[in-house]
């Protein structure tokens, strides 16, 4: 219990009067280990679109061309991004950076891996072929992919074969879900399966 005299002695100094009237708490800065909005570094972006596939907030990240020919860069919209850090972890070229995510991943050997599975419901699928024509990877493999989704090559991801859409090469899928959005009755569905892993040291 401090008595009144000790309080008066403490307050009667110039230091105390100056701090009482003029000091504010120090300007507070955001610490460097805080997971900020990801900023784009100078590394080369190979437009694999995995950051767009993993983002949980709709409309937060977009990978678009810049003015330089042949260059792509991700763009983050601040009003939509929830600062989760998943796009920073999954980029294979480390184009985005935020907080201590990259240092921790390099230290622990942790990474995330994507796998895409396409399922076709054979009962509902009516073989219209919209999904095969809409798929951008199909278009790259076989530029002459005709309407109704038929194709002469067997290297495409999926094509209409014997009346229903059949999947031939699931591993080439990039998970963009264009086929699922264009399907008229939701018979083709794409699953984006994510697995968080850590490198095991060889004994």
């Amino acid at each position: 219990m401090r008595s009144i005299l000790s309080y008066v002695k403490h307050m009667a100094s110039v230091e105390w009067i100056k701090t009482f009237f003029f000091a504010k708490t120090a300007p507070l800065i955001t610490p460097s280990h805080f997971r900020e909005f990801p900023h784009v570094t100078d590394k080369e972006c190979t437009h694999c679109f995995q950051c767009m596939m993993i983002c949980p907030a709709p409309g937060a990240i977009e990978v678009i061309r810049t003015e330089k020919p042949g260059e792509w860069k991700p763009v983050i919209h601040l009003g939509h991004c929830i600062r989760c850090g998943l796009c920073v972890e999954i980029c294979p070229e480390l184009v985005l950076d935020s907080g201590r995510v990259h240092t921790k991943n390099a230290q622990d050997g942790t990474y995330m891996q994507f796998q895409f599975h396409i399922t076709v419901n054979p009962v509902i699928c009516m073989g219209c072929g919209i999904c095969s024509v809409a798929c951008p990877v199909n278009k790259e493999i076989d530029p002459q992919l005709a309407a109704k989704g038929t194709s002469t090559s067997d290297e495409v991801i999926m094509r209409v074969y014997k009346g229903i859409n059949t999947v031939f090469h699931e591993e080439k899928c990039t998970g963009c879900k264009t086929c699922e959005e264009q399907c008229p009755n939701r018979s083709v569905m794409v699953a984006r399966v994510l697995e968080p892993l850590q490198i095991t040291e060889e004994p």
Partner: protein, 361 residues
């Protein structure tokens, strides 16, 4: 000649005490409260409907944002449910780190609840002390996970980041400082005469009434019933956990239980950091198809997730039961009526720690 008249007083959605909008309609007879009714519906966003058909990496962020105050436990229980469906196991170091993040979150939630109560009984000094020590706890959460609120730290198979030696020693030092300050504030609260006048003997809910209305969490443990979901969790059993119980059944007991749980969390965190095993932090594994029910202990009570998933781990059906649903009903039925003054309505309501965002997702 004076007459006492029956009046229905609404405590409206926009109110200095409420952080979230809800309406309490109290029927009074003079200064005595006869009955109370809680009207909800201002925060319904339809989260469970958005979750259908999405994989775990999108549902995890939606589950965290059901309630921002207790976001780590929603993350924890959701991922544990998905792991139970697919049989994914977690390495030891990751299990301990999950409990570390959970206990830090529990401490900051209890500090906010007690600050709300002190603000309600007009003791702003003690409230501001508690809010100041809460900033130390949030700093520790930031060192561990990278964000203060909605951390997104727990993933299927383990956790996202591994703290190094420097972070762990920082957390130990901060726990010493928090414990010293908390002992001082608990003494201030326990022996303050005006605090005792406004908290002891007010908002009483007996053990039979609590069992009838299915109250959970500290609201239940203040009425003498030792029920805590952490006693059934394997990691907590390894750390030697027993629930804290009081028998006074009033506002004072509920606030003191939260203070005691903060001290218990500090002990658990110290045990974890001293006995943290070496090893990996992620065990890998994909989510499959199945259906199950799992529960965990949020700062406010028992939280239950019922999930049914399809072949590649997308959600087909989901139902979440949050603790505030039961506690708000217990508060409106037993704690508020029978009070001797209208000024006790807000203090009884806030002492049961409602979280309206959890109640209506």
């Amino acid at each position: 000649m004076k007459k006492t008249v029956d009046v229905a007083i609404p405590l409206g959605p926009v109110h200095p005490i409420f952080k979230e909008p809800c309406r309490i309609k109290c029927e009074t007879f003079g200064e005595q409260i006869l009955a109370a009714e809680v009207e909800l519906g201002y925060m319904k966003k339809g989260i469970e409907r958005i979750m259908v058909g999405r994989p775990w990496q999108e549902v995890m962020f939606l589950a965290e944002r059901i309630c921002g105050i207790c976001s780590v436990i929603h993350n924890f229980v959701f991922i544990e449910t998905m792991e139970k469906i697919s049989g994914v196991s977690v390495p030891d170091r990751a299990a301990y780190l999950r409990v570390l993040a959970n206990e830090l979150d529990r401490m900051q939630s209890h500090l906010i609840a007690n600050f709300s109560y002190c603000y309600t009984i007009e003791h702003e000094t003690l409230g501001m002390y508690l809010l100041n020590i809460r900033e130390t706890v949030m700093d520790m959460l930031e060192y561990l996970t990278g964000a203060r609120v909605t951390c997104a730290y727990i993933v299927p198979g383990g956790v996202r980041f591994d703290p190094d030696e420097e972070d762990l020693s920082r957390i130990m030092k901060a726990m010493d400082k928090v414990e010293e300050e908390m002992l001082r504030y608990i003494r201030m609260f326990e022996h303050g005469p005006l605090i005792g006048l406004r908290s002891k003997g007010i908002g009483i809910m007996t053990a039979e009434q609590a069992e009838l209305v299915h109250a959970v969490g500290p609201t239940l443990r203040a009425s003498g019933i030792p029920s805590d979901c952490r006693s059934e969790h394997p990691t907590y059993q390894m750390l030697g956990f027993t629930p804290i119980v009081r028998t006074e059944c009033d506002n004072f007991a509920r606030i003191m239980i939260r203070f005691d749980e903060i001290l218990q969390s500090i002990d658990i965190i110290r045990t974890i950091i001293k006995t943290l095993p070496e090893g990996k932090i992620r065990g890998g594994g994909t989510i499959g198809r199945g259906q199950t029910t799992h529960r965990g202990e949020a700062p406010r009570g028992e939280l239950t997730y019922r999930i049914k998933s399809d072949t590649h781990g997308r959600i087909q059906e989901i139902a979440i039961q949050t603790p505030s649903i039961m506690n708000i009903e217990a508060c409106a039925r037993y704690m508020i009526p029978g009070g001797t003054s209208v000024a006790d309505v807000t203090s009884a309501y806030i002492s049961s720690d409602p979280c309206i965002a959890c109640t209506e997702r």
